[in-house]
């Protein structure tokens, strides 16, 4: 089964994304803690794309897909924005992020750190007309 959501690039739509993901995961046997981790990781990628790639332009949108298998769950976030390779992004030390945050309150830094710590595999596919982030969580893993 494959399910998809069209998510418009507005920060207020993140609540809709969470509702969609919670519903998608509602029939799984995952713990509430793990479900919340997965929702969070997908939201962090989407928020990153919405804010930094699409500048919160509400006429742009992302596609979010969920595929549930016996041994793993795959989330795919696809859009037509500029590529940004989160695999290349060097996750800063938490203390550095805190220091940076004193100077720039709006600064980010920990969203991608969360994604990397929660997911088992992150794959990027970049094409001239679209960009895809695939997040894979093996079940019964970390």
């Amino acid at each position: 089964m494959k399910h998809e959501l069209r998510l418009y690039c507005e920060k207020t739509k993140l609540a809709d994304l969470r509702d969609f993901l919670v519903k998608e995961l509602s029939h799984s046997n995952l713990t509430e803690v793990l479900k919340n981790e997965l929702v969070l990781a997908v939201e962090e990628v989407c928020a990153n794309r919405i804010i930094h790639t699409h500048g919160c332009n509400p006429s742009n949108h992302l596609h979010v897909g969920v595929q549930q298998h016996d041994d793993r769950i795959i989330f795919e976030i696809t859009d037509n924005g500029e590529p940004f390779d989160i695999l290349d992004y060097k996750t800063p030390d938490l203390k550095e992020v805190i220091k940076e945050r004193q100077k720039n309150k709006a600064g980010g830094g920990v969203g991608i750190m969360l994604v990397k710590r929660i997911m088992d595999t992150i794959e990027i596919e970049s094409h001239p007309s679209w960009y895809k982030v695939r997040l894979i969580k093996q079940l019964n893993s970390k």
Partner: protein
Amino acid sequence: MLTISKKQEDNHMLLLLDGQVDASNSVELDEAIHEVVGQGHKKILVDGSELAYISSAGLGVFMSYLEEFEEQGIHFLIYGLSEKVANVFHILGLDQLITIKSSKEEALETIHEA
């Protein structure tokens, strides 16, 4: 949706968070903390028992005040987090940098000892 209530109790200021904190409303959390810090409160408690969700945007708000709390000698505690929300703090190691207690009683004990 996020509702933040402020309540002055005995010797501390209490912030009650109800709902979900994400990139769309983390500025509200920032404004609430900014206000109570600006009022000179030195003991600030956050009731997180009705906090259903927090993303990096919300965690970032707490992180942005850590040095200020230390410099100004502000005791800042969060209590009552659900297991799934506490887990998010734990993934980042923020539970080592912010005092997190399971109940209000424990939070008050810690603040009275301070």
